[in-house]
Amino acid sequence: MLEKLKTWARVKSPWILHFNSGACNGCDIETLASLMPHYDLERFGILLKATPRHADVLVCTGPVTRQTARRLKRIYDQMPEPKFVVAVGACACSGGAFRGCYNVLEGIDKVVPVSAYIPGCPVRPEALIDGVAKLLGSLQTKSA
């Protein structure tokens, strides 16, 4: 019962923190755009938070440049458990267009564990919503 309540609350109120680890901005704009009236992520209780301490889901864009890698790790560590990381965009998944550039690590999963990958360049806001919905769906089934 308590478990159920826990998952319910968790699924209904995922607060996100957005981190750009060297993205081209495309995915960042789309992340923001998905909070806007047309897509309105708040419908699902998703709020964009400013500090890692308040967040449940780290929405990370970008191929992880060498300079941001440490930051990314630190922000991840600052987040309270349970926490999830969503890799948004081709670059966050694997480096995308930036594969082979000398200053990128090619993918967030090189630095922090990733719970869901959303491919696209950029991901459409719809795809983002879809990805988050899939992640939440998996949480629900996992605990059920």
Binding site: A9, D40, R43, T51, Q78
Partner: protein, 322 residues
């Protein structure tokens, strides 16, 4: 029995449980109004139309890991959320909910409530201060600066109905328009009502007065370092503060509760909702002002306005119109 009754008061009605339910409902309404004004939907899928959204938020926070930053003062850091919550819940006990007199109503409880309502700001200041991170320190100083700016106009504005009713007891002020039969006093206090509304907004640290928590400037302000349960307590505190604040303003300016339990209850709901609606209109239609601007604003406009209002009421009173 003697023990159970006050306990019930504190924990269930009109204490914590009632306040919690009511206040989450108000938060939902506020978010909904705000979203709709921005042409979007707001919380929608948590419970009916999203009513349970605030509850889900708080519950989720309770189930989360609770981190105390290494640099923070552990004891004070943990004490603050509880203190803040206690203050607002106590203030809420004096809320004239319906017809029956609050458990511990007494002559002068208005002052006590005003005092209790400024406690959360102090708590916030201390919370920021003891979490020792640059953002929370700046946030904390801002809380304090802002406090000095709005507190005086807030007091003055709430003084008006007290003077009109000639009492310091919330209960009496609230029933005054009804018992005296002079409905129209609601009309002449509009200016004070406006000031009270704005200063309440400042107390709640919402746009345009959300300076201490300005996301784009100081991240999360005093609460930057809080997470998990403690953050949840702060959220409850904020919600209840909104409930208590708006219910008080509603009670003092719109009068009490005619017509028994149900109609009285409904009236409470309606008038509080109206105040919350006005608050969210304010939130939606302004940009955040700067800390120096709020100080000038409140000393240049708000304080004089509330003084003028007080003067008007005093003159009317002196001439025996009231």
């Amino acid at each position: 029995m003697e023990v159970v009754k006050p306990l019930l008061y504190i924990l269930v009605f009109p204490g914590f449980l009632f306040q919690f339910v009511f206040s989450t409902y108000l938060e939902w309404m506020d978010r909904k109004f705000y979203a709709r004004m921005q042409n979007r939907r707001g919380p929608l899928y948590t419970g009916f139309r999203g009513v349970l959204q605030p509850v889900a938020d708080i519950l989720k926070l309770f189930f989360k890991e609770d981190i105390v930053p290494a640099r923070a003062d552990r004891f004070m850091f943990s004490l603050m959320p509880i203190l803040g919550l206690a203050a607002v819940v106590t203030a809420g006990l004096y809320l004239p909910v319906w017809l029956f007199t609050p458990y511990n109503s007494f002559e002068g409880d208005l002052i006590v409530v005003l005092y209790l309502l400024s406690l959360p700001s102090l708590v916030l200041f201390l919370a920021g201060w003891f979490s020792v991170s640059p953002y929370s320190l700046i946030g904390a100083t801002r809380v304090l600066t802002q406090l000095f700016a709005y507190e005086v106009p807030f007091f003055l504005a709430l003084l008006t109905p007290a003077v009109v009713a000639g009492s310091w007891q919330i209960q009496k002020i609230a029933v005054y328009p009804w018992t005296s039969g002079s409905w129209w006093v609601i009309g002449i206090q509009l200016l004070a009502f406006l000031v009270a509304l704005l200063t309440l907004q400042a107390k709640l640290e919402r746009v345009p007065f959300d300076i201490p928590e300005a996301e784009t400037e100081v991240v999360g302000g005093p609460l930057t370092e809080y997470s998990g349960k403690k953050l949840a307590m702060f959220r409850i505190q904020k919600d209840i503060l909104m409930l208590v604040g708006s219910a008080f303003i509603a009670a003092l300016f719109f009068g009490g509760f005619p017509g028994g339990l149900w109609i009285g209850g409904l009236w409470l709901l309606v008038k509080t909702s109206i105040v919350v609606f006005l608050l969210s209109v304010i939130r939606a239609s302004f940009a955040r002002i700067r800390i120096d601007q709020i100080v000038t604003f409140s000393w240049k406009y708000l304080a004089p306005a509330s003084l003028v209002q007080l003067l008007v009421v005093l003159i009317l009173k002196g001439n025996g119109v009231l």
